[in-house]
Amino acid sequence: MNNITLTDIDGNKYKADIIFTYFDYTYGKDYIVYMIDNDLLASSYEKVNNNYIINNDLSTGEYDMIDKIIERKMGELNA
């Protein structure tokens, strides 16, 4: 899968496998779906001063929306 290194604000680094990015018009935000240590995770991201900031604090509605997108995309795989 697609590898990327993420750095948190304490300088800790995480290797992540990125599945896809997605822009949702309802929330008006960009999201990223990725895996760290076999856990499937999702965050929103935005550009701040030429850096991309990944924000992990999503609402339940946002997680529900992303789960549906994953379901749809996985369904399309078998179509």
């Binding site: 590898n3 304490d10 680094k13 599945i19 990015t21 030429n50 991309y52 924000n55 994953i70 996985m74």
Partner: protein
């Protein structure tokens, strides 16, 4: 191996052949040759797509020819079938990468549809990515915008690929911890504001902890001396009588509040608003900061919050909506937040002010165009050179009518100083408080010319 650069210049597609490594030489290719090259690209497989910078990608083909192409080029409307086919090919390649990722995911979960691990997602602290994601986001944005252009209901979601992320790029993020700026970190914002689009909350315990842990740029024990620059500037004397006073009457409180909160000089922002705003009629003033809705609606701003002691460690975060732009407060917030963004981009109050008029990417575009290092044009000490460079760049590309080349003078005319008077403007850049003495030399200069 041949290298090509496809670009948009003066609203026209331009095709270059590129020679040389460290000092590239660009040779313009005529339309027949460019057709052949596009056909050559179409008849080869894409081996790899690498982001060069945020808006530019390099495509390596199976015959090892390389094509450097910008987002502008790929989004530029064209009826040319070859170009359409080229763009489709690039998008198909990107979509193929997403499929590959999803297939691997399906294998991991034995065909079951996984759901997001919400607890673990939330437990991760906020993270920063630089150039690694930039190129991918470029592609992502490209996919979405092309989907919009094609009026498709279904959006094209572009994947991030390992092909986009090579070892060099991973190393970029390794340097982030030491390069992190106060503005680069997001915390929950502070006090709630009036507009419904704001997302301001009291800082959480977690965000406060994060703040304390981050001693890189937020440590208050590292004090920075105040820096003062002197600017001699020829003020115009054509100010519209009373316009500043009306600006103060209708917008003074809002400007004062947000300038103090976001570390901007109220005198300058009042002057800027006086220059920008249309007339107030019956208490109404449409779009006082002249915000172009199509560029701003949906944009989220994250702005450091200051008080009399300097940076507070908190950030305001809000998303611009069409409705908010139609309110005085929402419009002022968007205008000042954009000014703050322009200032942070150039590390300069005056260059930032000029970018407000000339466009936020103007300085980097000008530096790219002339092959200059943008760092030589950042900061207040280089502000006048930076503004001159932007003017030269836009005049060269667009002629005499691009924005307002006299924007600074037009803003300064609303700053109340007498001839040969001076005003001290203070603002914050990160944790530094910077004072700028703006000297009106109009009278002095006219004395010299006598």
């Amino acid at each position: 191996m041949h290298k090509y650069l496809f670009e948009i210049e003066n609203n026209k597609r331009v095709y270059y052949s590129v020679r040389g490594e460290s000092i590239p030489i660009y040779e313009v290719i005529n339309s027949n040759q460019s057709k052949q090259i596009v056909n050559d690209i179409l008849s080869n497989e894409i081996l790899k797509i690498t982001p060069i910078k945020e808006d530019v990608i390099k495509i390596t083909l199976s015959n090892f020819n390389e094509l450097t192409v910008s987002k502008t080029f790929l989004k530029f409307p064209d009826q040319n079938m070859e170009i359409k086919a080229l763009i489709s090919k690039i998008l198909a390649y990107i979509n193929g990468l997403e499929k590959e990722s999803l297939e691997t995911l399906a294998q991991k979960y034995n065909g079951y549809v996984p759901t997001i691990n919400r607890t673990k997602s939330k437990n991760h602290k906020k993270m920063i990515v630089a150039a690694t994601l930039a190129g991918s986001i470029f592609l992502s944005g490209l996919g979405v915008s092309l989907a919009k252009k094609n009026n498709k209901e279904e959006k094209i979601d572009i994947p991030l690929s390992d092909i986009l992320i090579d070892d060099n790029e991973v190393n970029i993020s390794n340097t982030l911890a030491s390069n992190v700026q106060a503005e680069d970190l997001i915390y929950e914002p502070e006090a709630p504001l009036d507009s419904s689009s704001h997302e301001n909350n009291t800082p959480t315990e977690e965000s406060n902890t994060n703040n304390e842990n981050n001693t890189i740029s937020l440590d208050k024990t590292i004090s920075t001396p105040e820096i003062t620059y002197n600017f001699d500037y020829v003020f115009s004397d054509i100010s519209e009588n009373g316009k500043l006073e009306i600006t103060k009457e209708y917008f003074g409180d809002l400007i004062e509040y947000y300038c103090n909160r976001w570390g901007l000089p109220p005198e300058l922002c009042l002057a800027q608003l006086s220059q920008e705003r249309p007339k107030v009629v019956n208490g109404e003033c449409k779009n006082p900061f002249q915000i172009t809705a199509k560029y701003f609606v949906g944009e989220t701003f994250t702005i450091p919050v200051y008080d009399s002691n300097g940076f507070t460690g908190s950030y305001d975060k809000f998303t611009v909506t069409e409705a908010s732009l139609n309110t005085f407060e929402g419009n002022i917030m968007a205008g000042l937040a954009y000014l703050r963004k322009c200032i942070n981009r150039t590390d300069s109050l005056f260059t930032g002010l000029y970018l407000y008029n000339q466009g936020e990417p103007s300085l980097s575009a000008a530096c790219n165009y002339y092959g200059l290092d943008i760092n030589d044009y950042k900061g207040d000490i280089n502000a006048l050179n930076a503004c001159d460079l932007i003017t030269k760049y836009h005049q060269e590309l667009y002629g005499s009518s691009y924005g307002d080349y006299d924007y600074l003078a037009n803003v300064f005319r609303y700053i109340p100083t007498s001839d040969r008077g001076s005003v001290m403007l203070s603002y914050y850049l990160g944790e530094e408080k910077i004072n700028i003495a703006l000297n009106n030399t109009r009278e002095y200069n006219s004395e010299l010319t006598r």
